[in-house]
Amino acid sequence: MENILEVSNLNVYYANQGSLLKNFGRRTDQSVQHVLKDVSFVMKRGEVLGLVGESGCGKTTLAKAILGMQKQYDGKIQLDCPNPQMVFQDPYSSLNPSKKIGWILEEPLRMKKGGERLTKEDRVRCVDKMLERVGLDTRLREHYPSELSGGQRQRVAIATALLCGTTFLIADEPVSALDVTVQAQIIRLLLKLHKEMDISILFISHDLRVVYQMCDRVMIMKNGVILEQGQVDDIYRNPATDYTRLLLDAANL
């Protein structure tokens, strides 16, 4: 299949869940929120697709639905990758604070079953290779996450995702919590990994400049609707909607 991801007519509703007692006998339509409205798009294999929109517009919900973390939805999601992975926004909560970096990185390798099961030495070798690949010192294996900087943590998070052997990665605002120079490093790293390992990346961001550096194509989202999608250059030069123009003006592009 040429497309790694096909989403058609995706609708997601959030029911405002209360406790068992609060909701008892009270199921009104008012408590339902329509978060994603008829979202359709395709993503080609080996593509970096940007998803831009303001906070609360449904970007993360879309990511969750694609990853299967949001179970209730209408519509169709076809993902041609058995183990999609995600890099999260907050580098401080994306690593287990009580485990060493080496342990965290080995965890996906421990999960392999049957004949693929790796010995401790093999796992360490894989981890070291991956640490070098994401530009980290292999000595960091013996450190705790609290001893790492935000950029280093994000590199570890990326390494963990890649150690699962995935070809599809969702990066949910992976650089918004970092300062500008580190942002650039992480973006360069993601692009390098994208080329070397042929990974398709769905890059979620609210920063149009970052998206311009990263992505081939971009989708603009507002209030759960995809307003427009297309090549980054086209959209940045000829925005079709006022909202996109507003975003571009705000970003000074």
């Binding site: 973390m69 909560s93 009580s98 485990k99 999960m111």
Partner: protein, 266 residues
């Protein structure tokens, strides 16, 4: 943070007191200067002396020996109580906090009901149904202690289950049981450890209270609480009978409180 361990003064004092208490308990298990049940009318209510360090009780039994044995009994009961409470509480709290849903609602409402009674009262009800004795007291207090642990662990799990590292562990294919016990549980250890310490204190006091009421350790066996209860008749004629067991209860509780504080501060 994990490598540089600067111990607070609380922690050091607590560790020293607890150390002394533990040494006394161990000595009590191995050897006591006198047989704790042997009566000697010649030394009835004798004041502390070199021969009887803490004096003698109304039957002429050596109080020092009885305190050593009694501390052992109190300690074992408190330890078993906390173990039952903590293990059951952790399992219940972990599952309800992690999975949520109707099971959580039901178990937590039961928890609320149990919580509404003072643990001693609950244990009294239990003992009045199943009878007195060391093991019944352990079971009764253990069950009474479950809710407090369950609540603390549940709160921690609710906090951690939404964290990104738990989500990425799920995406990596880690099983839910492994996420609960390997990924999340170690992170609750600091909070859990200090509440175990506090729980231990409460258990010591509860055991003393129950033995004082005469439903815990049965005579002629000794426990700090039962000794206090026996001593109250002689409070003015032989104050040492009450002072030494009481002081030992204070020492035990104080030591563990300070330790708990020290752990929290770290």
């Amino acid at each position: 943070m994990k490598k540089k361990k600067a111990y607070s003064t609380n922690f050091i004092i607590g560790a020293v007191i607890t150390g002394i208490v533990l040494v006394m308990i161990i000595i009590g298990f191995i050897h006591t200067p006198y047989d704790i049940t042997k009566m000697n009318s010649a030394v009835k209510l004798a004041p502390p002396s070199l021969k009887h360090l803490m004096g003698c009780d109304n039957f002429g039994r050596d109080i020092f020996s009885r305190v050593l044995k009694g501390m052992g009994n109190t300690f074992v009961i408190a330890f078993a109580t906390v173990t039952i409470g903590a293990v059951c509480g952790v399992v219940i709290g972990a599952f309800t906090g992690f999975f949520g849903g109707w099971l959580d609602e039901v178990l937590m409402r039961i928890n609320d009901v149990l919580f509404a009674f003072p643990s001693i009262l609950l244990a009294l009800v239990f003992v009045s149904i199943f009878g007195t004795g060391k093991y019944n007291v352990v079971a009764a207090l253990g069950i009474a202690f479950i809710p407090s642990f369950a609540r603390i662990v549940r709160g921690e799990f609710i906090k951690y289950r939404e964290m990104d590292y738990v989500k990425s562990a799920r995406l990596a294919g880690v099983s839910q049981i492994r996420i609960i016990f390997v990924h999340i549980l170690p992170n609750t250890m600091t909070v859990l450890l200090s509440s175990i310490m506090i729980g231990f204190n409460n258990a010591v006091l509860a055991e003393a209270g129950m033995s004082y009421l005469g439903i815990g350790v049965q005579p002629p066996d000794a426990s700090l609480g039962s000794m206090l209860s026996e001593s109250q008749t002689y409070l003015f004629s032989a104050p040492w009978y009450a002072i030494f067991p009481g002081a030992m209860i204070i020492l035990m509780v104080l030591g563990f409180s300070l330790l708990a504080d020290g752990i929290k501060e770290k």
